[in-house]
Symmetry: C2
Subunit: 404 residues, 2 copies
């Protein structure tokens, strides 16, 4: 059996809870081959490749212990980047390919979202001339990649959101006074994450009582009306809003308040959509109101990761290696869902040109008619993705991480 060519794996784009689980999958699967060569990590993604910054991974991850730690470490172990290869010339790609040839690289795995899949697409055509296989592995909390049932990273983020919305519902309802809590959730163009707040509901928990996604135009008067209606029958109203909600004219709800601020401070971004709506409710309804921006913790709360998500992310990494070794290239690993009633995922590799630069928003069938909630169909779609918990390894009272 001849020795396999060496491999490079990189991580790109915004962090998620499980991007390292996919990295663990790539490393484990490659190293499981008897004739494996060296697997390198690209430090800071394609930027690291361009500057020749590779990290040998074989020794660090020869033990199962470090793989386990990697599986529970949030963000990118290898470091990430937001770098798009220059489009006016192929010089950068040629430089990379020549570097790969020098290092006897036969496989390049890139874990990332939309922009990263563009990198995969552009590299694969030139790499093909040198028999270098290029495979993309999906990753994004936003769940907006097309061609796959869902994206690794989404389930864990959704689980954290549902968990803290459920906990905050207990918190907000502790006094016997009328009050509103507005929870601002990530997702600029696609409302998948904000929608997942609905998974907090239970027979006895109505929260979130209202859900506003960027897929529907936001109307202040309708929003205030909705809250007033809810307050007729309950003391506490919990509202989930996407950071990216927009008015009918296309301006962001958050942007509107930032313009005001710019006038005064000379720079923007004081508060987001949640803060804006908090002010609106305070002024117009005159009741106790608070807003909470879930912010960074939602995309890195690996202490509360979804076991389903972690397992699938790992498996996507494994599938990428197997696809590359069987000769495929220029593809991204996708997940296909089997028919009901059992949740069951099979894996495939889809031509990258069908995926790169596309965006999947929440479909109409998942949003209610009034545009202030999700449908049961959405809940049926999203519920399986947050199931299960990992046995987290703790050290000194907090989850242990592995650091580069």
């Amino acid at each position: 059996m001849s020795k396999l060519k060496n491999a490079v794996v990189g991580q790109s784009g915004g962090p998620t809870t499980v991007i390292n689980a996919s990295l663990a999958g790539v490393i484990s699967e490659y190293l499981s081959k008897e004739n494996c060569g060296t697997i390198y990590g690209a430090v800071n993604g394609i930027k690291g490749v361009l500057r020749g910054d590779l990290l040998e991974l074989n020794s660090t991850f020869s033990t199962k212990d470090n793989i386990e730690l990697l599986m529970q470490t949030p963000s990118s172990f290898l470091g990430s980047c937001r770098y798009r290869l220059k489009t006016d010339t192929d010089d950068e790609i040629k430089k990379i390919v020549s570097f790969f040839c020098e290092k006897d690289i036969g496989y390049f795995f890139y874990i990332g979202g939309n922009d990263s899949m563009d990198t995969v697409m552009r590299m694969s055509s030139i790499c093909a001339e040198h028999d270098i296989k290029v495979i993309g592995i999906p990753k994004t909390i936003d769940n907006d990649l097309i061609g796959t049932d869902h994206c690794p990273g989404y389930g864990s983020c959704a689980k954290y959101i549902a968990t803290v919305v459920s906990e905050m519902a207990q918190d907000a309802g502790c006094y016997d006074i009328k009050n509103v809590l507005i929870v601002e959730i990530m997702g600029r163009n696609a409302g998948w994450l904000t929608a997942s707040s609905a998974l907090a509901r239970d027979e006895k928990i109505s929260a979130p009582d209202l859900i506003y996604l960027p897929e529907r135009a936001f109307d202040e008067e309708k929003f205030l009306f909705d809250i007033r209606q809810k307050l007729l029958n309950q003391d506490t109203v919990i509202v989930a809003v996407s950071e990216g909600i927009k008015f009918a004219d296309g301006t962001y709800v958050a942007e509107d308040s930032q313009e005001n601020k710019k006038d005064m401070f000379g720079h923007g971004q004081l508060g987001g959509a949640g803060k804006k709506l908090e002010m609106l409710v305070k002024m117009r309804l005159g009741i106790k109101v608070r807003s909470v921006e879930l912010n960074i913790p939602q995309r890195c709360a690996s202490h509360n990761a979804s076991l389903t998500d972690v397992t699938e992310a790992f498996r996507c990494g494994c599938e990428a290696v197997d696809a590359a070794l069987s000769g495929e290239s220029g593809k991204m690993i996708t997940m296909l869902r089997a028919n009901e009633p059992e949740y069951n995922i099979s894996y495939d590799a889809l031509d990258i040109s069908k995926i790169a630069n596309g965006e999947k928003i929440v479909p109409d069938s998942y949003i209610n008619e009034a545009g202030n909630d999700v449908t049961d169909e959405f809940v049926k779609y999203a519920s399986p993705l947050i199931m299960g918990e990992r046995n987290i390894i703790y050290k000194n009272g907090i989850p242990a991480h592995i650091i580069r």
Copy 2:
């Protein structure tokens, strides 16, 4: 063996992750007595007692399952209040005592912070005339009650803070660019919670790199200097600040920005200390900066509770019952720490007059000389409080709660 008199238990003040664990302790211990009577929950604390709103608890909590669920439910199962008994007359207390006599109540347990202990103190003297025992049970995330080594509620909040700061450090450090992350943590007058962010540190994690507590006057220029110094040797600087940091002249850092906002919007509270410092860093240092307000999740993240904290909170409830049954009254349960090296807590009951309305801030020995960090002595104090995790019962992918 004659039947015990009935008991009332109430919860008061801001929610914590473990105030229900103390409730579970009171209920379990009282019901464990062979000759127990009825134990009632006061809905919304002393406000509920005043309006005669009592909930019979014997049947709901006769099963161990519901006690377990209660132990992992954040906030106040019984509902809370921020009500102080009127001070100009004892009419309210007399009304309560007469209601207690009518219901054959012999024991009143009140779980709460500073204000709640004032209620306990004021009630105990009049209750003594009617042989009603009144015992306070400490509860506050702020850890500012005097007479006790620490307060139930603090450890779990500290564990969540240390956990997410550690996770956010991974997140913030993923790109190879200079950036600052400012984390705003609860605690208006006492910096215990902000200090606990130091528990995120590890051999390989320096975050938080700087810590500012309300116990020291805040100086903008020194703050900017501190950050510049850190940026010389590292790309990512993580700063923990208390929501209550103040300038030397006594004005809150947050307040300052709110006054500006008031001029424009006609109402305040747009952003807190973190947002203010984010703007400052952006303007003055011109680098990438972000602020995160940990907000409500820090005080209700029962999914990541400290087992030590939950266990001690439960035990405080048990101790309160035993103290009352042995004839004590007008006292609060306190925790005393044994000498090193082993962390070991014993329980006592301290005269409430020595506790009510007092406030314990972070002592000088826990703050470094430069006023931008905590000392090893603090870490030694706080570390044991965040140890251990509960086996959380999940339902549909999120922690199960019990709702009144």
